[in-house]
Symmetry: C2
Subunit: 213 residues, 2 copies
């Protein structure tokens, strides 16, 4: 009996199969992790499994912005000190976390839950676009609120899918009179010109900004 296609235990095989289904984890890495878990105290392993199960079973999504949340409305949307007339549109939960970590943004978010991608079969109806349009309409309809006080910022990836998604949303909200912007693109701070890709360098020249020393 050799282990080429066989494991010493069916339980080990099942665990390796399950762990190797995670992105970026191969069969060898999964075996290493499984054997590691086998050496841990039983309660640690149970805690690990239950933390994963509870995340999947009990996490909620904010009814405003679709960010993951412990309650019906997330901590950002329920924070009255934030600017609720500025909505930053992002693809994923992780993007919200990245922008929050900069400490530079005081508006709210809208998590699309993906990006329009015909290749992967993801269309507008798979995303939270209609809820976003609804949110924008509601803000415009608010009394004493000029539509131009409302700003929608696209913080989507710079590839074809990201631009397609931004354009699709733009067409639906452009008639409402709100301001629409996109995050700045250019060379990173501290980047050498020498190592910049041509597309980024070209666009950063076209989109040059006033020099304010």
């Amino acid at each position: 009996m050799a282990y080429k296609d066989k494991y010493p235990s069916v339980l080990l095989e099942d665990a390796v199969e399950a762990i190797s289904s995670l992105p970026g984890v191969g069969k060898k890495g999964a075996l290493r992790l499984a054997l590691h878990l086998l050496k841990q105290p039983q309660e640690n392993v149970h805690h690990f499994a239950s933390a994963v199960n509870r995340l999947r079973d009990e996490v909620k999504y904010c009814r405003e912005c679709s960010m993951i949340s412990d309650g019906d409305v997330c901590s950002i949307c329920s924070d009255r000190s934030r600017d609720h007339r500025t909505i930053c549109v992002v693809e994923s939960v992780r993007d919200v976390m990245s922008i929050e970590n900069t400490g530079q943004y005081r508006g709210v978010y809208h998590v699309l839950g993906g990006i329009i991608s015909p290749i992967e079969g993801i269309g507008p109806s798979d995303l939270t676009i209609s809820r976003l349009v609804e949110r924008v309409r509601d803000m415009v309809d608010l009394e004493g609120n000029a539509p131009s006080d409302v700003e929608i910022i696209f913080a989507l990836s710079g590839d074809v899918e990201g631009e397609t998604t931004a354009f699709y949303i733009y067409r639906q909200i452009s008639g409402l009179g709100v301001r629409v912007s996109s995050i700045a693109r250019g060379l990173g701070f501290g980047d050498d010109l020498e190592y910049a890709d041509e597309l980024t360098l070209g666009r950063s020249i076209v989109n040059r900004q006033e020099f304010r020393p």
Copy 2:
């Protein structure tokens, strides 16, 4: 509110904490895996968690060799076609799997479950050494079985801990008249001399073997 020390959901934080306790998985990688699991169908996540739990709760260890097993005796020890008078002594379950994968060994194994390491506080009594000595004694006592028919092969790591462990076991079985050997060390097949470390190269000259074309 920023996410520097805070997550949008306690459930997410718990899952990231649990996942990042795995070896080689940092906080960023754990977040990526947690958000991946969040997007999977609920039954897949449950299957993942239960495969991990069942591995830890239900796996057995062979009462002969301490290899992990679904039954009381592992598939190797219960295989009558194997040579039960040759025992290969290894540190871990993974070592057995590696040697089995070579297809070159027909004896049985003994899994120590670690290696003597004063720095990590692992002594002989933390390992399955006494069970190994018992197995060797039992084999020697078998009627019609010359002790020199029995061979113990050390397949342990080549560092100080590995050599200490081999020597400790050797002292306990050397009086029994069994043969004791160690896996061959030298340059790997296909290795260039140029890139071999000096210790390996030096030993491979001292331990040179007869040339048989």
